[in-house]
Symmetry: C3
Subunit: 471 residues, 3 copies
Amino acid sequence: MSQTLVMRPERLFPASAPERAIAQRLFKLVENLPIISPHGHTDPQWFAQNANFANPTELLIQPDHYVYRMLYSQGHSLEVLGIPRADGSAAEVDPREVWRLFAENFYLFRGTPSAYWLNYVFNQVFGLECRLSAATADHYYDTINAALATDGFKPRALFERYNIEVLATTESPLDTLEHHQTILDSGWGGRVITAFRPDPVLDPAYEGFRQNLQQLSEITGLDCFNYAQYLEALRQRRSFFARMGATSTDHGHPTARTEDLSPVQAEQLFGRVTTGSPSEQDAELFRAHMLVQMAAMSLEDGLVMQIHPGAYRNHNAQIFGRYGRDKGADIPMSTDYVDALKPLLDRFGNESKLSIILFTLDETVYSRELAPLVGHYPTLKLGPSWWFHDSPEGMLRIRRATHEVAGFYNMAGFNDDTRAFLSIPARHDMARRMDCVHLAELVASHRLEEDEAAELAVDLAYNLAKAAYKL
Amino acid sequence: MSQTLVMRPERLFPASAPERAIAQRLFKLVENLPIISPHGHTDPQWFAQNANFANPTELLIQPDHYVYRMLYSQGHSLEVLGIPRADGSAAEVDPREVWRLFAENFYLFRGTPSAYWLNYVFNQVFGLECRLSAATADHYYDTINAALATDGFKPRALFERYNIEVLATTESPLDTLEHHQTILDSGWGGRVITAFRPDPVLDPAYEGFRQNLQQLSEITGLDCFNYAQYLEALRQRRSFFARMGATSTDHGHPTARTEDLSPVQAEQLFGRVTTGSPSEQDAELFRAHMLVQMAAMSLEDGLVMQIHPGAYRNHNAQIFGRYGRDKGADIPMSTDYVDALKPLLDRFGNESKLSIILFTLDETVYSRELAPLVGHYPTLKLGPSWWFHDSPEGMLRIRRATHEVAGFYNMAGFNDDTRAFLSIPARHDMARRMDCVHLAELVASHRLEEDEAAELAVDLAYNLAKAAYKL
Amino acid sequence: MSQTLVMRPERLFPASAPERAIAQRLFKLVENLPIISPHGHTDPQWFAQNANFANPTELLIQPDHYVYRMLYSQGHSLEVLGIPRADGSAAEVDPREVWRLFAENFYLFRGTPSAYWLNYVFNQVFGLECRLSAATADHYYDTINAALATDGFKPRALFERYNIEVLATTESPLDTLEHHQTILDSGWGGRVITAFRPDPVLDPAYEGFRQNLQQLSEITGLDCFNYAQYLEALRQRRSFFARMGATSTDHGHPTARTEDLSPVQAEQLFGRVTTGSPSEQDAELFRAHMLVQMAAMSLEDGLVMQIHPGAYRNHNAQIFGRYGRDKGADIPMSTDYVDALKPLLDRFGNESKLSIILFTLDETVYSRELAPLVGHYPTLKLGPSWWFHDSPEGMLRIRRATHEVAGFYNMAGFNDDTRAFLSIPARHDMARRMDCVHLAELVASHRLEEDEAAELAVDLAYNLAKAAYKL
């Protein structure tokens, strides 16, 4: 007895009739706007090679830590799910069996954004009309598998079907961007750009930091163990990334700390962090110093700076040891911005030409620190609800906590930040709906006129991201 | 002119018609389920002796710090209210006069959960149909007093009338559990179990810590000033508690800090904290170390571990000096979990057989730390909104802040945590209603199907607590 | 094509019909109550001299950092806006041109409380019936300008029209209160009182601290570099302020820290902070000590104590250097109360005769620390949502987060805290409406009876502030 899967037109909208009607009118204005996806983690190889995706499990479960962390939390091991280990190996698992396990446990996702995104993909992308459960597992597997083998489900076809105007991936300075080059050379019209994420060569605590500098030396022909040449190498890679389409950098430090060291101090610190094993204090200080250096370079080359701090990465030591990074065990921490950003803002905060987008995993700073900061400093913009907060409740929380102090026009619109390519329209659909819910709330209580809300809906869905990321 | 007291069938439900209707349908499914009360502070002696309660003041005011702290905050002294002092004495007060003072000031409780619980008890348990005020104080006193003298209002009768399937009390390892033994021996069918709360012998800053160890030595015949025997004594007492029905332990440390010291370090630290007066740092370190030891023992004996950190106990020095612990002057503090629990989780976080339920008084960690932690680690479950947050708004806040990331199935259902026996059904009634309000919100905005919500309502009201506490 | 500006009677009320109806009924009870404004920053000179205000720009933009910080955040310099510099000079700007810039950018304020306040003033005070935009900029400027030249828009006339029962300004102990004296001498019936804000002579980090003590010595004839005479000088100034109508003191320290030093320690510390440049630690310790001294004096002279901690003042170093204090660059910080207030509460927390009103910019402490503290200590009351949180969402957040634990009767009602005199009724209108929204929520879900809510609405709008500030 399988149950119907329906994506109702009024989904996510409030039940109350006057608010729902407003939300629906606003949503009509943004529903079909092209997707601007200025920050994410899809694989450029997909668009370069345009090969068919393998099977439902490899596409939807194994790369998505949102999905398998929930199964893991309920006692299903990563082995059983066939998650690749740090050494590249993986347990031999039958993808259909993994899918069945997922299907049996799909009830665990009730009320989560993952369920929303997945159901959207199942229904809107694959045309499935019954709910996923043990009973329908094989039907799902076969239907999706069959679709994936067709041309219409190749990456570029989906990109076009999804009406994506621009999609940014995220690469390390050590990346050759060969896939982006292939895309550019291919003559395909899809705009897939990169973003410059230098954590592996800025963070002395990053796995393989010294090898990374070695590799950076090789790529640039500079001696990246010499501080001046190291800075020059970063400048060169930023310039290369910009030529390949990048309009932004991204920085995922544990904290938002910034420091503006003197050249002499900086050089000494650089010496300490590149030889031997640096202390935690030195590593933190170097990351802090380099954020200010990155801002200085952004002022030169115009790349928009994204600061994504506050995750305790790889919190689960056993999982990290066996499976490596990004396995659903990053946990947010209390994060300060007001003290942390002071050195950066003292130097560059009043530069209208520099653009810095702030993100957080610590929702307590929305109203306390971020809204007042972006509501004052010309350089600062507020990014959307991030990661664990990229959900209906999370989206309402950030809007309600910030719009009154930050103003809507100090916001950077939405970005989906996803590894799960198929879910991109689902995520933008959710974000656009929730913005309409929020605006409808304001209109219904006469805090906005509906014509103002109509403009804001379009700005939040499209214009603000395009402007903030210079796209 | 006394006003009517009515507990409306639709109380606590949203005003909006579509949501209200859904909430009502869901509530019908859970309204009459038996009560699982796996954590609380009722007195087992009540059920052992089954004596009549004395009078309204002694039953409803003097033991309930929720109630008298509000009167105290408005300038009514604990003397006047007849609250017992630390030395066991109490001012001679006329219980009827105290009741009158309470009645005159009952308006102070407007909008508080105490008002809800008390009105429920007045109306549903004692059949009172006018509101409590100066005008009705004597009528209330006489009505309740008369009822309390009858058999129907004896503890066991109320336990049965309340449809309590299981009720856990909380005892120290120094407790002989004689009342629980009496209950077991009595042949009465009510399931009243204990829970193991070792703070008095784990926390070097606890009043009388050394005497407590002395007493533990006497009870167990072991030398509890020897570290190995101390651990063995704890093991024995846990085992005794488990035989007496306990399925859980409870830990009310000031912080959630854990440490996994080596045996040598631990033994040295134990030496320091059991001789002379330990430093604050040593006391904290020892509590932290012992939490990991308790987890190790839980993995052996299967007791579910509850961690209840974050209260600044006895904040009011004058009140503590004169009246002792638990007088309404415990104040929550900012509490970290992500760093604090790391040593414990490094060692045991991936053990599916170990079950740890986390509570907090710091709501900022709901979405930032707790939901991500319980949404990843197999050992962890999220406890309900606790203490100051055990209220309609508090319940909605924890659900809205966590369900999307934690998932509902990483939650431990509800527990009432009360000293006020009479209010138990009122508290479960409130919790069940608020869960239905939350679920109705999700259904009305098409984030859940109603059949999913129906299952979740029953799980949240009954199954999850039963499973989490192994009842 | 200018659009209509309407202040709808049902503005800010919920869209849902049953809640809206309740909110409207409650609001009718409070809409026309006199305004109690016990804390604010209007200029007493206005009421002393009763001169006409100059022009719309000088009245509504240049003194209001809420307004110009938003323009600044979008790249409009303070120079262009004609904001006065720290040295008293200002760029020569045409006020009409500044007004036009403001009008063009008025869309930036969409959804902010500033837009609400301004639209209220435009419509209700100046009778404007089209929205402010580039197209209507001149019409606005001319209309407002014309009105300002009339007698009906002089400060005292507006005070009367606004139905203000009492208005407190805020002055330093160094102020001669000459304007208040002029008002008292004038025979005008308006009650404009002062409040004692001693930060400039209590905070060793305040600009010109030593000169301030020098000036205090001159005013009092005491040697304020001698600790005992310094305390005596403060006592004298408090007494003078009280004679001039003050009923309260106000303390805007960076943190809520308090310390109760011994006289010897205090005298030594005083020596250190008044000679040479004190360390940050000493400055903090001295502020902390002086808060307890202020409480001691309040117990003597009956002045209500307001504690307003948690702002990182003058965060933007360049703006501070050029323009000085209060230029929209104060950013809230994470603020602790539970540890910070302990020394003060240990000494005075149980004094029913001492009244301390707590404010915060850190909303995380609403439910975690402030509601439990004010719900226990007889000395403490909870102030309204402050500054960045003085907005529809902010007001709902504080009420929902605190009323259940604090109780309504441990709250201090509303205060507008404004420099923008014209906006005072707009702010009280917003606060009264939002309190009715909150109460309607409780009534609609049967958490309050409507007759209880009716009493509470009047208490929150009028009685509680009057009582808390002893007015």
